[in-house]
């Protein structure tokens, strides 16, 4: 039987791992490699790397952090794929086919294309034709405005004119192989997943859905795994901060018979 997936998200800014809250405040945590090592040892099902570097910012050479400086997602990917033999999705400002080709060649299996324009479905269409639907993930950032789900773009600063249901249909028919739904309201808040949002999205499409935003406790994972049939459950901060958290979350979900892979501590 196919298992549901537990997925740590690694947020990167100029090659360093960061923590995010409501897409606005960032704490720089440092070298991503030790985290990746930990995550693969605890048998995560996949890893998602999201690059949230912003072009307009001046890149500061951090002398206070003692780690090898990698400035791009590509650099990180190159290093990670030498010891991490598990599925990898990368995302962040992917707007041309060459970029996708580069990431796939460096060891990524899937790319997350963020919805950044009303016309973005054309890019999804082009990419899925060239690389196959199975490697195109459409990442959608959602925020509740006046009681309705609105799609936000540009790191949460602009609103798309399509409503969420309309966009999901367009995305699916354009060739997306998966949806990564992120709740901006819950991002970094740690007060639980948005169950209504996740059920809405999951029922809307016939492709797998990964949810993220809101994980703050083990019970939050239990809740989303029980109250939805979502295929992938992802989190960034939670897995980053809590010792052995991927392993312990998996253990809980496995023991409750929620169809996750058995927890095994791997020594890779």
């Amino acid at each position: 039987m196919k298992k549901r997936r537990l997925i740590p998200i690694i947020l990167l800014k100029d090659g360093a791992i960061v923590q995010s809250r409501n897409f606005r405040d960032f704490n720089i945590l440092g070298d991503p490699l030790p985290s990746v090592k930990r995550f693969s040892e605890w048998a995560s099902d996949e890893l998602i790397f999201l690059d949230i570097s912003r072009d307009e910012e001046v890149k500061i050479n951090r002398t206070d952090l003692n780690f090898q400086k990698r400035v791009s997602l590509s650099d990180v990917l190159e290093d990670v794929s030498k010891f991490c033999f598990m599925p990898i999705t990368v995302g962040g400002k992917i707007d041309n086919l060459e970029k996708i080709e580069e990431y796939l060649a460096k060891g990524a299996d899937k790319v997350a294309i963020n919805t950044f324009l009303n016309s973005n479905y054309k890019f999804i269409e082009k990419s899925s034709k060239k690389f196959g639907s199975q490697c195109i993930v459409n990442s959608i950032d959602v925020k509740i405005i006046d009681g309705a789900y609105k799609i936000f773009t540009h790191n949460g600063s602009k609103i798309l004119s399509y409503n969420l249901g309309e966009w999901l249909k367009i995305s699916e028919s354009s060739g997306s192989g998966e949806i990564l739904i992120n709740s901006i309201d819950r991002d970094g808040a740690g007060n639980g997943f948005d169950i209504d949002l996740i059920n809405f999205v999951d029922n809307c499409v016939k492709i797998p859905v990964i949810c993220c935003g809101g994980a703050g406790s083990y019970e939050d994972f239990l809740e989303v795994a029980t109250k939805t049939t979502v295929d992938g459950i992802a989190a960034a901060n939670f897995f980053q901060y809590k010792e052995h958290s991927v392993f312990l979350t998996r253990k809980l979900l496995y023991e409750k018979n929620l169809n996750f892979r058995e927890p095994v501590l791997l020594s890779i």
């Binding site: 298992k3 099902d45 794929s81 033999f85 599925p87 199975q134 998966e178 890779i268």
Partner: protein, 202 residues
Amino acid sequence: MTICIVDANSGNKKSVYNLIKYLSYDVRVSRSSEDINKATHLILPGVGSYIEMMSKLKKYNLVDILSNEVLIKKKPFLGICVGMQVLSTFGYEFKKSAGLNWIEGIVRKLKTDKLKLPHIGWNNIMIQKKNKILDDIDENSNFYFLHSYVFESKITDSIIAETSYGESFPCIINSDNIWGFQFHPEKSQIPGQLILKNFLKL
């Protein structure tokens, strides 16, 4: 021994390369007839569509080179994902197109009923037949899948293991010196390393 990852410029050859390197084998990625000739083991990794993979094999003149090494010289050959699918007679992704026809069968869309497609994630295998590729592997071993199309083998004897997602389909096939995995060993953590090692021991 020297392993050659056949470079049809399609798919995740780097990940397969990294894993074999990590397992301390001599490996190269190449499409030159010389390298393929010298290799003891051949691996064809694949991501993307059936048609694209076949057209690249033809474009780089690999069909004749590989046929000679695999069908005549009988070198151990492993096709991964689309690399396994093109071993079939025909593929039906987008439109009907001819494959290598090394193992008789067709490649068609997975019938999943209400389950979501693509089939993405970890799934266990159901062993159909004893095979040396399965040393240290049991039915609780999970492998990583990422596909919507499956190999429907006309030769049931070639099916070593199946996986179930909506329906049962072959996930490991073998005929003589030719093997195919529908899952990605290079992405399947420890079970993936074990099964790839078994192939390299052949």
